[in-house]
Symmetry: C2
Subunit: 341 residues, 2 copies
DNA sequence: CTGAAAGCGCTTACAG
DNA sequence: CTGAAAGCGCTTACAG
């Protein structure tokens, strides 16, 4: 009855061995039954389940990770939490992953490739079951770390046609062009583009803006105001003021993100500029509050929740060893026309 | 030269044993040297460090967790990521914890005690090294899970004088009272309190509001408008409209959070109400954009970054087995007077 | 101050 | 379909 009592470090924890004993099977069978591995007699599965219930067994993720070199954690890397966009993305990811038994290890890169590389290194040591990363812009080392980890990885927010790459996103270029065309359709010709952060996706929107204006024969490089500073409402106010002080005859502004646009709208009000009569103002992402602005802000509703959800589902497939088809999902965005344009 | 090649599952990973061999010491000594345990000869430490460097050794957190029943993860539970307040808090926590070798496992409870309990259960299975939780309001089961885990735990955002409880926060009651007294000092007498979410900290601010008004003999329960809905700019606009339609003679509004206040300010503008002439408007937390509103919003700057930083440092002490003194830190807030009052 | 042995709680690989 | 043995990569507990 007594276990040899020397050199024990028992944590008092209920282990798989306890469950197996209680169920009258071997630990391996209990393990297989619990993981839903096929090839275990249904009656045994029931017995094991009942024993788990009775003993209140909780599997030890560390032991599982060590033995299988796979954990139930999924590393999710996003640039920033202060952009509501990524919060929506993470919420959606969590909504899919958590019920499936996975936990999101959230890493914030601050749009800094070196920081991303460091986080990746640290998270990879934890043997995550999968990886969710934002976009394609990273250091070569980071790329190799992902590659050589052999882990399932889904790229979010951007899309590519490259083979063997899994991604869920939308065309930032097209969305930028669509919004610009809306401004052109409203009769605007001197359309400025104001951006901050200057991350890859922002620059893709800039590319869409340029394309649309070139098509219309209205492109003027001087109408671009690009700042490397971090995007914020305050910066939007500052940039609008600067824009109007240094460029003539501007009749519309496309801000690369709604926080900038909201700040621009508030600055216009302080400057006594009538929107949209004197100046049309548009943003991007349809963030909280944009519909409440005076006047309500025209913007592009981007499908970040859908991206998070579809991306997480795709990763789940990959972690199960399945082949998601298509390997790259392009989701729709929508130009939301309100009274600011 | 050849290891017995049967039944190997080697992951190809560089292990502590490799490091030990390379350094010419035993694995235990290598382990101790790496963890900075005192009582290892300085020369040996150097040798081990060099070997780690040469081999590119990365410790395996799963193995470490299994052997020591402690991981390098810290579970951090916050109510919401869509409130910028908690994003600031998390950033600060990460800034302290990550360089110290810990990773934050971020859990979002959505102000739902059952959800918190579920997350706690799931995170506790991962043997975190410590716990960071928001406030004191949770299910009895959650409380016991924390208690019986025996893990170091620091409570954030609120304070208590209860013995044996570690916390870093500020007095929500006093901050609420201070802002209310500012409105009183401005000559306002019919001061409304508009709140959403109705979480414990919001209700503590309400308590401060009541106290200050009672002291001034101005308290009127009808001036409170409390909504259980989630706080947002849009809701603030709606609540201000409702408030003014159903209450007479209101000369000031204290919104329990800045997003509501920003919405209120925008609604006032649409309604043609002059702020602060007709109505003083104040918020709470000093969130992004509040200084950019028209007029700029009076609010309370809450020390969330400081709370996150001090809380994480306190946890670090506890995880080292030290006794932080004091066990409860009360940080200062600041009433920021702008043009809306 | 340093080390040989055992153990943490699982799963893999091999058998039957 | 089920299981006994070994191993995942560390650290604890005991010795010296």
């Amino acid at each position: 009855m007594n276990a040899p009592a020397r050199r024990r470090r028992s944590s008092g924890r209920v282990t798989l061995a306890d469950v197996a004993r209680e169920a009258g099977v071997s630990p391996i069978t209990a393990s297989r039954a619990l993981r839903g591995e096929r090839g275990v007699g249904p009656e045994l599965v029931d017995k094991v389940r009942a024993a788990v219930e009775r003993l209140g067994y909780v599997p030890d993720p560390a032991a599982r990770a060590l033995a299988s070199s796979r954990s139930t954690q999924v590393a999710v890397l996003v640039p920033l939490l202060s952009n509501a966009l990524f919060v929506d993305l993470l919420e959606a990811v969590h909504r899919v992953l958590f019920p499936a038994g996975y936990q999101a290890l959230i890493g914030v890169t601050h749009y800094n490739p070196d920081e991303e590389e460091q986080l990746l290194r640290s998270y990879l040591a934890h043997r995550p079951a999968g990886l969710l990363v934002t976009g394609f812009d990273r250091t070569e080392t980071a790329r190799q770390l992902i590659q050589s980890s052999g882990l399932p990885c889904v790229h979010l927010m951007e899309t590519t046609d490259a083979a063997g790459v899994y991604c869920v996103g939308f065309s930032q270029v097209e969305a930028g062009a669509a919004l610009t065309r809306h401004l052109l359709a409203r009769g605007r010709r001197r359309i400025a583009f104001v951006a901050a952060q200057l991350d890859p996706r922002t620059m893709q929107r800039a590319e869409g803006y340029r394309r649309a204006l070139r098509e219309a024969g209205c492109y003027d490089a001087k109408l671009e105001l690009l700042s490397p500073e971090r995007s914020s409402i305050a910066l939007g106010a500052r940039l609008l003021t600067e824009l109007l002080a240094t460029r003539d005859g501007i009749d519309a502004v496309f801000f690369c993100n709604d926080d900038l646009a909201q700040g621009g709208l508030l600055a216009a009000q302080r400057l006594g500029i009538r929107v949209p009569t004197d100046l049309a103002v548009a943003g991007f992402n349809d963030l909280a509050g944009s519909d409440q602005m005076v006047p309500p802000l025209t913007t592009v509703r981007t499908p970040r929740s859908e991206v998070g959800e579809a991306g997480a589902r795709m990763l789940l497939q990959l972690m199960r060893g399945e082949q998601p088809r298509p390997s790259c999902v392009r989701l729709p965005y929508e130009v939301v026309v309100r009274q600011s344009t």
